[in-house]
């Protein structure tokens, strides 16, 4: 979807404000939102693509006014209700109507599940459509649902830099239409191809793009 999350190339946000490594969290509620999001993510009711899509569905004005963990908090509440872990009335009143449908992640299991992670690499049989160095054009697609193809690269021509192999396809996984693994490539674009003649003649941007996003270019 063409949401406010797709920020690459926008002007007017001001300078980047560097900060030291500590503190990791800046308010007590931020660490709880972080931990609630990660802990409920292990309950098997959604995947990482669905959780990104939940945050993206915030209206653009609200998204841009929100801090990062406010975006997470809003996405979490949406998913909890949509995926049937709580109902809308419970969310509104804060009172539990009964126990949830699945068991909580136990404290003792946290190190194990973090170490295991959620790998998204999937072996696929289909041979690579594009060899390293091949020129490709990103399709000009504007899906209404989740995609990982930023607007700024659509219609642009780049060259295949790396073949990452098969990976879960976020466009389908985000809407629970299956993992449908597809080959993923790192594609290198000249800065001038993306940003015009005022950009550096030397610089480049690399994006990870799935095979269905790409056409062969001459």
């Amino acid at each position: 979807m063409n949401g406010a999350h797709d920020l690459g190339g926008l002007d007017g946000f001001g300078p980047v404000q560097p900060e030291p490594v500590k503190p990791v969290f800046h308010h007590a509620w931020e660490e709880r939102v972080f931990a609630l999001t990660v802990a409920t993510g292990f309950l098997g009711r959604w995947n990482i693509d669905a959780s990104r899509y939940a945050r993206e569905r915030t209206d653009p004005l609200t998204y841009l006014r929100s801090t990062y963990y406010e975006q997470w908090f809003r996405g979490l509440r949406l998913l909890l209700v949509e995926r049937g872990l709580i109902d809308a009335k419970e969310l509104e009143t804060g009172r539990a109507a009964g126990p949830g449908p699945v068991a909580a992640l136990a404290a003792k299991d946290v190190p194990t599940v973090l170490a295991k992670g959620s790998p998204t690499a999937r072996p696929i049989d289909a041979p690579a459509r594009f060899p390293i160095g091949a020129r490709v054009r990103v399709k000009n697609l504007h899906p209404k649902t989740h995609t990982r193809m930023p607007r700024y690269c659509r219609g642009r021509v780049g060259a295949i830099l790396r073949d990452h192999g098969g990976q879960v396809f976020p466009d389908s996984n985000a809407v629970f239409a299956g993992e449908q693994p597809k080959r993923l490539y790192a594609v290198r674009f000249e800065a001038r191809e993306l940003w015009g003649p005022d950009a550096s003649a030397r610089d480049s941007v690399v994006l990870d793009l799935w095979e269905p996003y790409l056409d062969a270019a001459s």
Partner: protein
């Protein structure tokens, strides 16, 4: 605007922000209580998660990877061939680092990592991302004007060096291996790791010079 008015506005902003955070504190607490009541969340598990990323997993891990790559050519070769495996040799793996790629700076090529669509970041080696990495200015500008962004970090790159910006649009996580600073010959891995900053592994900073302290 007169100085007086400016100060007034500033105080007003602070009050507004304080209200915003205290309201959020209450709302987050209410959601946590509900999820605990429904036995969907174990509060002790939340504490373990917070402690893990606040105190245990952070950029010191990545600094050890970089220091080893600087010191041990065989390790560097393994890291450039299969970063996930090479990083796991040091005990760092798992969530948000399942599929790692190391990209190495050279005198002609300088890497920088961003996630324009959200906040993808290699947690096992760098911990959780800083606020600026997740915020609009960096996400909007890194791909479009990387040299201006580097200037915000006090870094100037010569015109004849390629800046290659990696937009993390998939689950592959990128770790920048900065160039080893001159004057570090004879330093051991622990001493070298002290020079490797978080920002140098994102690509927005340089390693410290020998004798300088970590920020």
């Amino acid at each position: 605007m007169a100085k007086h008015d400016h100060e007034h506005d500033h105080e007003h902003d602070h009050d507004h922000q304080d209200n915003r955070w205290s309201e959020l504190q209450l709302r987050v607490k209410a959601l946590e209580s509900l999820l605990v009541d429904k036995k969907l969340v174990d509060p002790a598990a939340l504490d373990v998660l917070i402690d893990t990323y606040e105190n245990k997993v952070g950029p010191r891990n990545g600094a050890r990877v970089v220091a080893k790559a600087w010191s041990d050519p065989a390790y560097r070769a393994r890291l450039m061939t299969n970063a996930t495996k090479a990083i796991a040799e040091l005990g760092y793996s798992g969530r948000q680092g399942e599929d790692m790629v190391a990209v190495e700076n050279t005198p002609r090529l300088r890497h920088m990592v961003v996630c324009t669509l959200c906040s993808c970041y290699p947690w096992p080696v760098l911990g959780l991302p800083p606020v600026w990495y997740k915020s609009a200015p960096y996400r909007a500008r890194a791909v479009r004007e990387p040299r201006a962004v580097l200037a915000d970090f006090g870094v100037k790159v010569a015109d004849d060096v390629e800046i290659r910006v990696w937009d993390s649009t998939a689950e592959v996580r990128y770790l920048v291996i900065p160039e080893r600073p001159p004057g570090t010959e004879g330093m051991n891995e622990e001493q070298l790791a002290d020079l490797v900053t978080r920002d140098s592994m994102i690509g927005t900073g340089d390693p410290l010079k020998p004798g300088a302290a970590q920020p």
